[in-house]
Symmetry: C2
DNA sequence: CCTGAAAGTGAAAATGAGTTTCAATAAGTT
DNA sequence: AACTTATTGAAACTCATTTTCACTTTCAGG
């Protein structure tokens, strides 16, 4: 809970208002864990603050992304968000679509590297394959 | 042109019909190069086969992806496709959205590796940053 | 070469994620 | 408490993608 408070207070310090809707979204995001889609965040947040609108979830996630508190990425036609945690990647199951977090980084290109004029500021890696369950079921 | 023929004949051998629409899409895809969006493929293919419908482009790209001839990935709300070429990755510019192909692979996890029950069959890597042009303009 | 069953097609309508608009509401300053 | 202005929710909208369905084409078998 302390992290959420810090996040919200930092937002306030930067001139944004701290509202019930934003509090609910931040809390939902923290509970949702890795790579939650908008609907999941919406459902969780609405539990704590029933008159929350979906639009506000989009707006808040966008705000948090622009302020650097969450990462945004796309998978299967819908965006996913997660609180900006220590550098990690994702294991995406081709059969069931489940996303697992994986804490190692097997990418040898570091921030600031220049590749023929292109300056690298970061990277996104997804390892695709089959999760333990689907591995047995499929094929 | 020979590659396209091979692709189409292989499809036929697997029981799919080779149609004018599919020929046009495959040719467009070959011309489009790296990471073409659906609209680009559609525009190119329609030149060769004017009564082509957009729906058929979606369907054909989907077929080719399922048959393993093209890679599909998502970026900025619209899917991109490209003929499955030798393993490579993409440099995505945060400012202008341009996508460049990059032929090296800095990922040390190989196919077949098992990570706590998850079997890796492949990976997708995007290096994000600023292209030569935007690097000078932005900031 | 014909022919017919089944696959494939295009147009239009439907879906669904995400965005915009706008009048009403609430945060935080005075 | 009053006031200014950011924020909100609902509804309408946009745009990529999918579905439906009546019509067309492919190609295996004659």
């Amino acid at each position: 809970m302390s992290f959420n408070k810090f996040l919200l207070e930092t937002l306030r310090a930067r001139g944004w208002r701290v509202t019930a809707a934003r509090r609910a979204v931040v809390e939902a995001l923290a509970r949702a864990g890795c790579a939650a889609d908008v609907q999941t965040v919406y459902r969780l947040a609405k539990r704590a603050y029933p008159r929350l609108g979906l639009v506000t979830v989009y707006r808040t996630l966008d705000l948090l992304a622009r302020e650097g508190w969450v990462q945004r990425w796309e998978e299967g036609g819908a965006a996913r968000y997660e609180l900006d945690q220590p550098h990690h990647h994702h294991l995406v199951c081709l059969a069931c679509g489940a996303v697992q977090r994986w804490d190692r980084c097997p990418v040898s290109v570091r921030e600031g590297a220049t590749l023929g004029g292109f300056v690298v500021t970061g990277h996104r890696l997804e390892l695709v394959g089959y999760c333990r369950t689907c591995r047995e079921v499929v094929r």
